[in-house]
């Protein structure tokens, strides 16, 4: 406990946490509405998840179990540092297992393992305003949200079809929450959009630089926008994961060498490792399970 003596529990002071919790409660009360909040300076640069960290810091308690992912992976820089940060300033248990976590802070993925009631998914959001690139004036976009003028959002989808013959937006795909607010689900691949719909977990979104918090309460309607003759569809992959042979999951392309060699593997590392442990084998899987290999000392 000596480590946390110099900091208040979970880094932020209690007054700040109360302010953020008020914003979160308002966000939950009005699903999809962007609540302004007094975002604080955090010991990391903007764009590295300052919004998500502040939300997590405000809701985390000593009993919580935290999981942090970055593009689905538990072992990338951002995920490792944020996990270490909360271990240090809140002394909480951390995990990489989706099912065991009570709070999952995520950058741009929703875990493959279905979330359950009582879990909280905290998203790091760079640009919370879905209309931003169509209408640069904040005064105007807020008015458009207030008056439910969302014709412009379809202009973007129209442009996609006109240029590419289909809706080419593949991430940050706009959704309508509970039949009212159009929301940016943060730059998650649209593959994850259906998972937001009526999810039993609470979903909180924090944008630190833009100073906005929004939320999707459990079991809320989240519908991806589309056209009648060009319905919403998610990405499909024509091959399974090269390591665990999983199908119907989101895959990342990994470059293997300088000669064009590449493989497609699960973006959700926890999901992939679990499947490898269970004995699933993809065509590029090593002889021994990855998880075991990792515990062995390097030569």
């Amino acid at each position: 406990m000596t480590d946390i003596a110099t900091y208040n529990f979970a880094y932020l002071d209690e007054q700040t946490k109360r302010m953020i919790r008020r914003a979160i409660l308002k966000g939950i009360a009005v699903p999809g509405y962007q609540v302004p909040f007094a975002s604080r300076e955090m010991p990391m640069p903007y764009g590295w998840g300052t919004g998500g960290v502040q939300v997590t810091a405000s809701i985390i308690g000593p009993e919580d179990v935290l999981k942090v992912i970055d593009q689905g992976a538990d072992d990338t820089t951002n995920a490792v540092s944020i996990r270490a940060f909360f271990k240090k300033v809140a002394n909480v248990a951390v995990t990489t297992e989706t099912a065991k976590a009570t709070i999952i802070q995520t950058r741009h993925r929703i875990p493959e393992h279905p979330l359950s009631a009582g879990q909280v998914l905290v998203y790091q959001v760079p640009i919370p305003e879905p209309l931003r690139f169509l209408e640069p004036r904040e005064t105007e976009t807020r008015k458009m949200h207030a008056l439910e003028e969302y014709g412009l959002m379809h202009v973007k989808l129209y442009e996609d079809i006109a240029r590419h013959g289909r809706i080419a937006t593949s991430y940050a795909y706009p959704v309508k929450v509970e039949g009212r607010y159009v929301m940016d689900p943060s730059p998650t691949p649209k593959f994850d959009n259906p998972k937001m719909h009526r999810s039993p977990a609470l979903q909180l979104f924090g944008a630190g630089r833009e100073k906005r918090i929004y939320a999707v309460p459990p079991f809320t309607e989240v519908v991806s926008l589309d056209f009648e003759d060009h319905p919403f569809e998610v990405q499909t992959f024509d091959q399974p994961c090269a390591l665990c042979a999983a199908e119907n999951v989101y895959l990342d392309e990994v470059i293997l060498d300088d000669h064009g060699g590449h493989m497609f593997v699960c973006s959700d590392t926890d999901h992939c490792e679990k499947r490898c442990e269970q004995g699933h084998r993809g065509h590029l899987a090593p002889e021994t399970p990855l998880a075991l290999e990792r515990t062995e000392p390097a030569q």
């Binding site: 008056l147 014709g151 412009l152 129209y158 060009h230």
Partner: protein, 258 residues
């Protein structure tokens, strides 16, 4: 023609502090009628137009509009949501500078389709077919549908802006110097097009212009403004051929003869 006007304006004034924008303007506009508002720059034409189109709130006076259900509604008492809905369905606004009225970074087709999508059209094929139809009506080639207006000439931009405004079948269109900044041959074609559309669709329009030739070509009736006040109004031909107010006489005699 019905017996009731489309728009009733009564004693409309707009002050900027102690300065007069426009003062005590009263008129009725009838369905299918084109009214020109002329005067030199600074005479309050644009202020009046902005007040009428609810882009500006007047300091005093009233304006009521006959909605599609034939009920008169007081414009300045409507909620902002209703006003904006009116703006994008039953009304159109053609800006002098097309860049103000168009989205310059989305394609021509999307510019025309935006209003349709705003009122809930969700069928891509139908929206595109309507856009194609409207582009041809304003004489823009169909193969330019996916180009951004940035790639268009001034005249084409203005025609695109007109298509974008007319696609929802408005009953009243406001135009602020629609031919300003265009060279004369392009102006002539645009005026010809506008005149055709206005007659075919039975549009009512309020056209602000400092160009008396435009007023004569497009409008049936005109108001002459000076220093924020209406100095003369009447049938366009009468006002231009037999101007009574000294200022109108000056204006008419100032036209350059080629």
């Amino acid at each position: 023609m019905t017996d009731e006007p489309l728009l009733r304006v009564s004693a409309l004034s707009k002050f900027y502090g102690s300065r007069v924008g426009c003062e005590n303007v009263t008129f009725d506009l009838w369905p299918g009628e084109v009214l020109a508002v002329v005067g030199e720059s600074g005479s309050g034409k644009t202020t009046l137009l902005n007040c009428l189109s609810t882009r500006l709130l007047p300091s005093s006076g009233t304006a009521s509009y006959r909605m599609r259900d034939s009920q008169f509604r007081e414009l300045y008492r409507m909620s902002e949501a209703e006003r904006r809905f009116l703006m994008r369905t039953d009304w159109g606004f053609v800006h002098q500078n097309p860049a103000d009225g168009l989205r310059m970074t989305v394609s021509a087709g999307a510019n025309v389709g935006e209003r349709l999508m705003a009122v809930g059209d969700r069928h891509y094929g139908k929206i595109r077919a309507t856009a194609v139809d409207w582009l041809s009506r304003v004489e823009i080639d169909e193969d330019r549908i996916d180009d951004e207006p940035r790639a268009f000439s001034g005249g084409m931009r203005q025609r695109l802006q007109i298509a974008r405004n007319l696609v929802t079948g408005p009953r009243l269109v406001f135009m602020d110097e629609p031919t300003g900044g265009l060279d004369v041959s392009v102006q002539a074609r645009l005026l010809d097009l506008l005149r055709g559309l206005v007659t075919d669709l039975g549009l009512a329009a309020i056209v602000v212009t400092h160009d008396l030739a435009v007023a004569r070509l497009l409008s049936q009736r005109m108001m002459v403004m000076k220093d924020g006040r209406v100095v003369e109004s009447g049938l366009t031909d009468r006002v231009l051929d037999d101007p009574r107010a000294p200022y109108t006489q000056l204006l008419v005699s100032s036209i350059l003869q080629v």
